[in-house]
């Protein structure tokens, strides 16, 4: 008898698995908003704290999923239609793609546009637009190109270097027994190389100004242009004067790259990174403004001394349900943004969100909100194939396996293909 029913067990297993698969898709509940974003761990907690008051007020719930591969999820979701209600968008380039594909919903009737434009830096408002419609809002901003230093080695707060030459001479004068002038680390898993692209962007912005910068990421300036080469050459100089050299730079995780500042004797004098670095590596355990501090990236060409590079987390809406609209409207308001910045590490694009935990973040937040010439992270604005090649060639260049000219030539070859209008 038992023999006759042997086939039954595997069938039951298969049946149960199928049942589990079949019912795990989220149900279209009117009181639930599904959200995916890149924030995990502490950032996820901060986001959930931010939506808590909205949940209490409206009785709706937010179903949040944090993932690092948001790009892949949305790229697969847009053609198939399997999308969350709200999602973090990888960058303005992808936002435009999704809007053109009809997947993203315009926000002009969702937001309180007058208040939003009034409270937000115009550069960031414009980056959220496709044509004259708003499709994305910056829920979180970042300031790129801060030069961190250990105050115990030397405190630069009294006379922060205003020019690049000043930075090099002050750094060399105060280097003491530090092993090198710079610390750099560009390892970041799948996105390895991005900190090096930030370096190039910061240099290019100060050397050649916002117009060249914006033409460059839009594919209108060739990679082999002398202006771009000048930026790469200066970056290469930085690597030649870095702790452990190019090999170590390539092997070092960006989160830990600044740690040698605090070694004894110090590994380096300076470390360039965005404002969010203050929550990573050894910086997280130390006090901003006391144990370490940072000054803005100095001017190289005095004409462009006011230019600032930043980035941010764009947010867009894929399903215009009432709950999703209401959440979207809430997220950009000053009270919501206040909760976000209070948690630390985040800057707000909203001028009226000022509850920063320390002066370090407050200054960085003010720099973003009041920037005269604000440019967005160029690599994030490039077509994704260009961006990936930029990252990857920065790794090869930094490790020394490619020269500046080889890297630029290879990047131009990618650009010739990546900027081609879609057939």
């Amino acid at each position: 008898m038992a023999r006759r029913f042997r086939w039954f067990l595997p069938l039951v297993v298969i049946a149960l698995v199928m049942a589990a698969c079949g019912t795990s898709t989220p149900s279209g509940d009117a009181k639930t908003v599904t959200v995916i974003g890149t924030w995990t761990d502490a950032e996820q907690d901060a986001f959930l704290a931010m939506v808590k008051p909205w949940e209490t007020d409206t009785g709706n719930t937010v179903k949040y999923q944090g993932t690092r591969s948001i790009n892949d999820i949305l790229a697969a979701g847009v053609p198939t239609g399997v999308l969350p209600d709200l999602a973090g968008l990888p960058g303005p380039g992808q936002m435009a793609e999704y809007a053109d594909a009809g997947a993203l919903q315009p926000l002009d009737d969702v937001l309180d546009v007058a208040t939003y434009t009034d409270e937000t830096s115009p550069a960031l408002v414009n980056l959220g637009k496709v044509g004259d419609k708003t499709y994305g809002v910056f829920i979180k901003a970042a300031l790129k190109g801060l030069i961190y230093y250990n105050t115990a080695s030397h405190d630069y707060a009294a006379s922060p270097p205003a020019t690049w030459d000043d930075l090099i001479s002050q750094g060399q004068a105060n280097i003491g027994d530090a092993e090198a002038l710079w610390c750099v680390g560009i390892e970041s898993g799948d996105a390895s190389g991005w900190p090096a692209t930030d370096w190039i962007e910061n240099i290019l912005l100060r050397q050649s100004g916002p117009d060249v910068y914006n033409d460059w990421w839009a594919g209108k300036v060739k990679w082999t242009d002398p202006k771009i080469k000048a930026a790469f050459d200066l970056y290469k100089e930085v690597i030649d004067n870095s702790y452990g050299g190019g090999t170590n730079t390539v092997a070092t995780k960006f989160e830990l790259a600044g740690d040698p500042l605090f070694k004894s004797p110090p590994g380096c004098e300076f470390f360039e990174q965005a404002n969010f670095m203050s929550g990573l590596g050894k910086f997280a355990d130390l006090k901003a403004g006391t144990d370490f501090n940072a000054f803005p990236f100095p001017a190289i060409n005095p004409d462009y001394a006011k230019a600032v590079e930043g980035a941010g987390d764009l947010f867009g809406m894929f399903h215009a349900t009432d709950a999703a609209k209401s959440l979207m409207k809430y997220l950009v308001t000053a009270p919501a943004q206040d909760i976000w910045v209070k948690a630390g590490g985040a800057l707000s694009a909203n001028k009226n969100a000022t509850s920063y935990p320390d002066d370090f973040s407050k200054n960085a937040g003010a720099a973003v909100a009041n920037a005269e010439q604000f440019v967005f992270d160029a690599s994030d604005l490039m077509p994704s194939a260009m961006n990936a090649a930029f990252w990857s060639h920065m790794v090869s260049l930094t490790s020394g396996s490619e020269t500046v000219d080889e890297a630029l030539k290879a990047l131009q070859t990618v650009a010739d293909d990546a900027y081609k209008p879609a057939a």
Binding site: Y243, A251, S396
Partner: protein, 325 residues
């Protein structure tokens, strides 16, 4: 929750019900036919559901992929062989193809070589099953986890700093290094480091299969040779190895296919940077990162064309072996 339970119940009762119903229905159909023809047709009717699933989940996507490989990135217009021209004209894709060739040759050599060595050696000791278990364990680890483990093994810190990577700490004791294992592009050192990770995982697989074949060799053959004064090496070369060849061929072809499909280890450890890319990674990037469905499909087709001859060879060997039995 209750709808889930109801669905589960429907499925638990429904799926076997449908299957029993299907078999019953086929028997009813067969009754119409003359008795003589029934045995010819019955197996096909029983195979039909499986074949239908194969067609739906394997053949249909394959045809779709081949079609896509001739289309543009949005899958709207046909572009002829453009995607294939792109593949064979792109420096990155060709570098990935070259690396896959290294993977194919050296992964197979390492895995079959070490697998054979271990299988033959442990065959002669008392603690055989323990030794075999130890070597088999890595196969149970997910490839991503293995990649992460080996990242720590290969970790590099600049000279003078404390070496936290296992390998650099070990050679540091002898006053050597540190070596940036995954950052050396010359002679594809970094690719070999990745191949070693995969070989570490798959050696156990080769060992188990070769070991089983070894047990299948009639000990009287070896005894007879020894009686005639053959040395152990002569026994291995003249008797054991020739009898193992069919098994080694099967293991080798399996490893060749594994090498062509290599993805996880490269993705987790170097993301294809510094010239370590392989075609499966290239395919993933084109598809999910750049939205180039046409190009990704072209890569898939190239990969498929590379694997098909090996599959046929494998099936041929299998048939030949069956025929001997």
């Amino acid at each position: 929750m209750t709808d889930k339970l109801i669905t589960a119940a429907i499925v638990v009762v429904g799926v076997p019900g449908v299957l029993i119903g299907y078999i019953w229905a086929t028997e009813q159909v067969l009754r119409i036919l003359p008795e003589r023809r029934r045995p010819d047709i019955r197996p096909w009717l029983w195979l039909a559901p499986a074949l239908a699933f194969l067609a739906l989940f394997l053949v249909y996507p394959m045809i779709g992929t081949i079609l896509r490989s001739f289309q543009d990135n949005l899958g709207k217009t046909f572009v002829g062989l453009d995607n294939f021209f792109w593949f064979f004209g792109s420096a990155d894709a060709l570098s990935a193809l070259k690396n896959n060739l290294l993977w194919l040759i050296f992964l197979t050599l390492f895995v079959v070589g070490f697998g054979l060595l271990v299988a033959v050696l442990v065959d002669k000791v008392k603690y055989e099953s323990f030794a075999k278990s130890v070597i088999f364990v890595p196969l149970a680890i997910s490839m991503v986890a293995a990649g992460v483990i080996w990242l720590y093994m290969y970790q590099y810190k600049p000279p003078g700093a404390v070496q936290t990577g296992t390998l650099n700490a070990a050679i540091g004791v002898a006053g050597l290094g540190p070596v940036p294992w995954l950052q050396v592009e010359d002679f594809s050192v970094n690719t070999f480091m990745l191949i070693i990770v995969m070989a570490w995982m798959w050696t156990g697989f080769a060992m188990v299969i070769i070991s089983a074949a070894l047990k299948g060799i009639n000990p009287e053959l070896m005894e007879a040779a020894r009686m005639d004064g053959a040395t152990e090496w002569q026994v291995f070369r003249g008797i054991v190895f020739p009898l193992l060849v069919p098994t080694l061929v099967v293991v080798s072809t399996t490893m060749i296919i594994t090498a062509l499909k290599a993805f996880d280890v490269v993705f987790t450890m170097t993301s294809g940077n510094l010239n370590t890319n392989v075609i499966a990674n290239e395919m993933y990037a084109e598809m999910f990162k750049f939205g180039q469905y046409g190009r990704a499909s072209a890569i898939a087709v190239v990969l498929l064309l590379a694997i098909i001859p090996i599959m046929f060879f494998n099936i041929g060997r299998f048939r030949a072996q069956e025929a001997v039995r």
